[in-house]
Amino acid sequence: MDMKLLIANRGEIAVRIVRTCQELDIPTVAVYSDTDRNALHTRYADEAIKIGPTKPSESYLNIPALLDACKKTNATAVHPGYGFLSENPKFGEAVEDAGMLFIGPRPHTMSIFGDKLLARKAAREAGLLVLPGPDQPLQGLPLLSQIGNNLSFPVLVKAIAGGGGKGIRLARSQDELADVVDLAREEAIAAFGDGTIYLEPLVQKARHIEVQILGDGNGKVLTFGERECSIQRRHQKLIEEAPASELSPKERDSITAAACQLGKQLNYRSLGTVEFLMDQNRQFYFIEVNPRIQVEHPVTEMVTGIDLIREQIQLALTGEMSLVQSDINPQGAAIEARILAENPEEGFIPTTGEISYLKEPGGPGIRVDSALYQGMEVTTDYDSMLSKVIAWGENRQIAINRLKRGLTEYQIGGLKTDLVFLTQILDSHPYQIGKIDTTFLDDFNPTELIPEETLTRYAAVAAALHIHKERNFQEHKEKEGINPWRQKAWQEQTNTGS
């Protein structure tokens, strides 16, 4: 193919895109900030070019720097990945104005979905069921009753520029409302540079179900089926699966049809995800569209056997879709777990450190999408997601068991992660029977997989033995004047001896 692709992103998604390009024989350009100068995506790509300092605003969010990198490397196309500039219409515009291919929706489409109120309007016009609530921003602080649209407390205060779970706050009562609104406005300004907010009812015990679509930009839209992403912390997805375990064929058809309908309405181009909430009456409400590839896309790839990034690139390149709907036949079940540099025991606070040892899982039905490497310095400069493990199985139970097995094999030395926590979720009865909703983690208390006393005993013995060997070695060394660099070799001698 006559294309040279610059990937305006980092981490596992940049690696992910490079992989597909290598399989398509498309030359790739990685961009990197100071801290990322040795990152995996810079090594796997055919070329790597520095775009600025660590601060995202000066590198991965820096449009001029990225365009400059494109010019320097003669890139003919740009893939934005997810996050960073992936939903920024100005970026897509700038790329296309520079005469390059932007691998994503039209800028105009992005600006619609970038404004949650416009998105609600568009969805309603396409005949989708949208959560009640006014389609205008909240002015001042009227009583909820005055706003009407059967809004009632608790109510969500959302930033119109938000999305992906960011910019959402809950107000439980009228007296709380004032403070929550102020807080939400401040946050929205800080996060999105736009303090406009609006109100949306809170759906109790909702399930998060989303539909993957691909549009050719001329009204033809394919669906790759749905995903369920109800396991969330702070509105952030943690475990995702395909298909949604509890949908009836009828429900599945109706939700995917609705998503396609919205796509057709807008002549949607490229990959996109239409997100819904399913309430306890199994009613689907549109919430938003993510006009880009998503973190959880691999579960769809594993059940359909189709490389979504490949289809996205080929479509951008040829303007034609290489598939028809009947080519897409999801089979079995796939589940993804996100490996985070966060400590679940302490409210998911970010953790940092150097990856001093790494062993990733393998074997049947396991896929690892990772940006980790031994020697990597994990900082808080960027998103805390380090890696994803995805398991496929003929059915959900097999996929669960496989994913548990895979997570158990994962060894990440030198950094606290959520690996054990993820296993505990998969291990829990409610998850195993599919009794999940977005409040799952609120009242989830993990049961230990290994008796704590066993673990602490192992730790105690390991520490004692280690110091003991160090001491013996120290004496040994002083007696025989051994070179400390040979310590390991020496230890192994003594060990084989013991």
Binding site: T408, Q411, A459, A464, H468
Partner: protein
């Protein structure tokens, strides 16, 4: 023969290591530890299984340990400072548990100390070890000073135990 007291979270383990014998709180085990690569991965082997234990030793004689993805932190102190009778304890003599550099002495002669207090810090293999007193008593003499390089078993500090039988 060597004794170590290890604190892991709320738990305390007294580990005694002899040639081919290992006692944990008095019970015998057949544990063996082996370094797999230069990156902290070790195999903790007992009669039944091979356990992957990932160790990082911190400067202050404490360890970060990962086992099956669980992160534990262990602090190791030389000697049991419980009621088990060791010669040190009878006489209240604090000896150097290993060859190394005296980093700091936290007490002065005449001070009164409680069992378990850290009284001295020694360094070896770039690891700092807290040396604690095995019994409560009064510091009678300090035989060394920071910056001294001492061999194993050298008398460092002597204490007059409160429960001194000879008193």
């Amino acid at each position: 023969m060597a004794d170590y007291r290890v604190y892991v979270g709320a738990r305390t383990y007294d580990v005694r290591i002899e040639k081919d014998l290992l006692l944990v709180n008095g019970d015998q085990f057949e544990f063996d530890l082996e370094s797999i690569n230069g990156n902290g991965l070790h195999i903790l082997r007992d009669r039944k299984r091979n356990i992957e234990a990932y160790l990082q030793s911190n400067q202050n004689g404490s360890y970060d340990i990962q086992i099956n993805g669980n992160h534990l932190s262990a602090e190791v102190v030389f000697g049991f400072h419980n009621q088990t009778k060791t010669s040190d304890q009878k006489t209240g003599q604090i000896k150097s548990p290993m060859p190394g550099l005296i980093i700091d002495i936290l007490v002065n002669e005449g001070d009164h100390v409680q069992e378990g207090d850290t009284i001295l810090i020694q360094e070896a293999m770039k690891m700092q070890m807290k040396i604690r007193t095995p019994n409560s008593g009064t510091i009678t003499k300090i035989y060394t000073k920071p910056g001294n390089q001492v061999d194993k078993g050298v008398l460092l500090i002597s204490i007059d135990p409160d429960d001194n039988p000879n008193r």
